[in-house]
Amino acid sequence: MKPRFVETFVPPAATFLLTTAAAEFGIRAAGVSPLLLPTPSAVARAALQHAPTLLPALAMTAQAVAIGLALSIALGLLVAIALSTSRWVERAFYPYAIFFQIVPIVAIAPLLVIWFGYGMRAVVAAAFIVSVFPVIANSLAGLLSVDPALRDLFRLYGASGFARLWKLSLPWALPNVLTGLRIAAGLAVIGAIVGEFVGGGGLGVVVLEAMRQQRTDLVFAAVLHAAALGLALFAAVNATSHFALRRWHTQETEP
């Protein structure tokens, strides 16, 4: 157990310490203006000093991301299930699902404010729009890849449509759904921050305010908080994935 912990955490920690130290001394030695590039220590000071602003903003963004992502999973899965029911449905609607993939979220964010007003709802909508496509695309790929022999088996024993979906297609697609979710988690954070630039609230507004006041250190601190949020979501999806799929693959514990 112990060596594995060391293997997992020591190398990235060493990289972090080295690059941070290098940045600190490099920026000081080169005499770069803190308006352009603050030292890591200045960013850390700003983060501590503005914690009363940053932490509530982080909580607000996290909430919008969580709701947006939950909507993406629920609606994305429903859409994928609907598209998987027939080739014709897929051909008729899938090209329009790609809209969510190609829509420039920055360009339509003002539209979302017009529709949903300033505040949380527009931000949630932005997070949803950018994160739903990977859920649809990956879930659909999983639902369509079900082993034909297993479909035959279910048919042979007269399984209902519901049993086929619940006991075969959905569990079969689970690894793909989780892959989609992993991509969606990172995108939802981006969508929420862009939404906040226009719709207000959260870390997006902290970034805008700090920029107006030329507080580059605070911009960095806010960006780090957003990155931490993305990382936490990514880790949560990975943990879920590990837990849900641990039985599918050969286990290290052989009885």
Binding site: L156, Y157, T250, Q251
Partner: protein, 279 residues
Amino acid sequence: MTPSPLPRYPAFMSAPEPTAAPTGVAVRVRGACRVFRSAGEADVVAVDGVDLSIAAGEFVAILGPSGCGKSTLLRMIAGLEPLDAGDLGFGAGGGAPKNALAYVFQDAHLLPWRDVLANVALPLELQGRASGERRDAALRAIAAVGLADAARRHPAQLSGGMRMRVSLARALVTEPRLLLLDEPFAALDEITRQDLDDQLRALWAATGMTVLFVTHSIAEAAFLAERAVVLTRRPARVVLEHALDLPAQRDAALRGDARFAREMSVLYEALRRGNGKAA
């Protein structure tokens, strides 16, 4: 993953009773044809006018070259593939026997998220049986294929041979009257394969079900079946129907027997003829 030692078979398996009451269902195929059509390509005639009559409780091997349409024929009997011409009848009634049919695929095709017990119980679950009944029947079927110790393991923790046993148990759990097998042991190593052949033969003798076994292996057909049906290269037609003159009690020694060699050469000749030498 280390292969676990082969489990001991339950008592009834080491000494199969060939006199078990026949519970099997008879199968009659008349003029069965199946043509695969796809846009922009020539039609492929997979099965062309096959007649087949299988008695209740019989063990028949369907032998033919790879890709000859023998799997299609088996799928037609299972109701997984429509007949473009001809007809299909079961038993005395003629209709497809409900819940009496089981199918074993070329590979195990288990659900990776379910353990052995839940995989084997799946057919009963889909048929809507009560959970206690499912569990008891699944445990019996698992014991019958010699996997009692592995009931709680997942497919990823099993060897290829063990997975195939699970697949066999899943087919047996509904106590089928007609068992259809599509080259089920083709991907296994020789020893595991012979072991499963022995086991299948013993299960057949113990239950009296009708077994239709598709294979491209002459030795496997001769060892397992009471009767062999040899098909031609695609489109599949019957070249030879041959009752195998071998003892009911079959074991490893039989493979070295002169009678076994003679039957194999008969099947080999038919297979060669069907392969286009004199068609």
